[in-house]
Symmetry: C2
Subunit: 401 residues, 2 copies
């Protein structure tokens, strides 16, 4: 008998495929469009430095002491006000500060997911959410969708008798990995279907502020507050290194999520909460986020142009209206995972799409990030990728005429 | 049918009794010995300010970006070296930086505990560990003990056939809440018993640096590295507000703990890790920790003197040799939970001991922290507590002669 017996759920914990791929692709000389890292050029270092100084001058003992599991009061109020401006009217008591929105996913899984309970996800969906939910051993239902988001009829078809679908996990804005944004009409139809089917929603919105042409429609939570848990993050609008996110939950759920938070790490670092609050308290993001949008839009445009120029016929993509990613479907006969080593050898990297599916991965898909490389590097990287694909297609065509 | 169906484990999530009590006791005019907060006077604010400056000058983009789930390399190396000096020789690859050692407990529970699996704990034990393990639905075995720690024969008597006891959770140094420290002889005997019974150990050591007279014996992990997971923390020697701790695990367990960490919050804030590393890298703790010890020793002495002076006959306690707490057993007829409102009305607060038991709480126990109040306040607070107890005992004696 082994000395260390592990829990059954441990079998559902696995290495992040993305992190494994990043080890492969983070080599000198490789133009990597694999990572999902926000551009570090956008981090407001000077504002953060001043905020650290202020916190350590004004309230050092409070900032460095244990603090409330709910989070720092003024930051929670800021979140409530921000969401109010997006049409989601909530009480500050519904806001729980988390250690990144990844922790929000973990807490939701812990409080809501039993072994064998159905959880609905998009096709494809955010890999990190699958990782967070997996140890709680759900059975996934993959929601069919189109360019506007999951189909309402897919929600309607979910199991909703006891034990029922615990929730549908949805990313309405510039989804990772697909980049798609749900239209106003689709949001209304999805919420209506979920209300009829009595399937609650977990809405994850890390990218909503990163729109390029127009602000996305109001969140799902604004349409069905008592049926939606909403997750937000400071990682994409400020800096991920603080690990600051938040959950907004219907009042009935708040105590259990809070207790799960206490059990998980007592509280999110008070120092970080106060520093971030100092940075943002006087409207800083209203000036700062547009600069991120402008930068990412330019990079998005560079990638759109390069894809049009270099991708072989038969490659499919939509130009994302925000966020950080293009999602490509390669021509028949291309396996994105199989081609990755060839691409890396040629000096370019991406993330194969297969990891983003709960079921039946589409091996022809891949994700390209445009926020890490400069427009010139993007042009070069996409050109290299196009070359790899064309060479592969030519070779395939020769052997199977 | 309720809209939000919760997981079965959710029933095992409960409000922290301590946090509920703190709400009751944190009133102006109450001398509170309830909280387990390190003295904020000990936080090295100036060193932290300089470290923030340095990190934001030298490596702002790296500190504010996503980073490795394992933790910041130099900090992991520092931990490995520190433990090496304590007799625990490890490879840096065995160190996982966590969001406080509370998260270490959560990850251990997630990876190791199945529903209904036995987990052994001390009597009493750290409440936060029970909270962390509870959602994974173990069955606790409470280890009988004496002033030197749990009894080796209690380990020997644990279920060790399949599925077996997943681990024994032990706090050898100045335990929260009892203050006891395991002797050298007891450590050896416990490890020998655990090896024979094949019960692995989870060793939690938040207080080990806070010794007053002599450094405690080497950790359990140094005696049985392949059978022990070791948890450490920066909360008591630097500041809890950074939420920085670490797990050191046998090599075989590291990958699953790391994957659980990724799923839980991706990584501990890189900014915090770098700031703390900047503070401690050049031997800062060798100067700093003795100042904490001197302060806490003085407070410990004040409380010891006040208890001798003011506690009614029949009250039992040991003078702790380190850490932050006295553990009292009141005379027969005293219920610590029932007396708390009376004590608070009289202007003094403590934590009733019942919350620290997995089974069969001893209602006569209570925990007093000596690190928050000044020696003069401690004298006043203990005098008030003594008055409350004597008044209660006198009243009881009158009605039951």
């Amino acid at each position: 008998m082994t000395l260390w017996q592990q829990a059954r759920r441990s079998a559902r914990l696995n290495p992040s495929i993305i992190r494994e791929i990043l080890k492969l692709t983070d080599q000198p000389g490789v133009l990597s469009m694999a990572g999902g890292l926000p551009s570090a050029e956008t981090f407001p270092v000077q504002a953060i430095r001043e905020a650290c100084d202020r916190v350590l001058t004004d309230a050092p003992r409070l900032a460095l002491q244990y603090s409330a599991s709910e989070g720092f009061g003024p930051l929670r109020e800021w979140v409530a006000a921000r969401l109010g401006a997006m049409g989601l009217k909530i009480d500050v008591g519904q806001v729980l500060i988390t250690s990144g929105s990844q922790q929000g996913l973990d807490l939701v899984g812990k409080v809501m997911v039993d072994t064998g309970a159905p959880v609905a996800v998009e096709t494809p969906t955010y890999l990190g959410a699958l990782q967070a939910f997996n140890p709680f051993e759900p059975i996934y239902a993959s929601l069919a969708g189109d360019d506007d988001g999951p189909l309402p009829e897919a929600i309607a078809a979910l199991p909703h008798d006891a034990p029922g679908t615990r929730f549908a996990y949805l990313l309405p804005n510039f989804q990772n990995p697909s980049g798609r944004v749900m239209t106003e009409a689709r949001r209304s139809a999805l919420v209506a279907a979920a209300q009829v089917a009595r399937v609650p929603l977990v809405e994850d919105n890390p990218y909503g502020d990163l729109w390029f042409e127009e602000e996305p429609p109001a969140p799902l939570a604004a349409r069905w507050p008592e049926g939606t848990v909403y997750l937000g993050s400071f990682s994409k609008v400020l800096a991920p290194g603080f690990r600051l996110g938040y959950i907004v939950a219907p009042t009935d759920l708040c105590p259990k999520l809070l207790q799960a938070k206490q059990a998980a790490d007592l509280h999110t670092p008070g120092f970080n909460q106060r520093v971030v609050f100092e940075v943002i308290r006087n409207g800083f993001l209203d000036q700062h986020v547009p600069t991120i949008r402008a930068r990412y839009r330019e990079q998005r445009d560079a990638m759109a142009a390069a894809l049009t120029r270099h991708m072989p016929v038969g490659t499919e993509w939509q130009v994302p209206k925000g966020g950080m990613f293009f999602w490509l479907r390669l021509p028949e006969g291309c396996d994105a995972m199989g081609l990755l080593p060839v691409a890396v050898a040629a000096g370019v990297a991406y993330v194969p799409g297969a990891a983003f599916y709960a079921h039946a991965p589409d091996a022809r898909t891949l994700r390209l990030s445009y926020v890490t490389l400069s427009p010139a590097e993007i042009a070069d990287g996409v050109a290299l990728l196009g070359g790899v694909l064309r060479e592969h297609l030519d070779a395939t065509a020769e052997v199977t005429p």
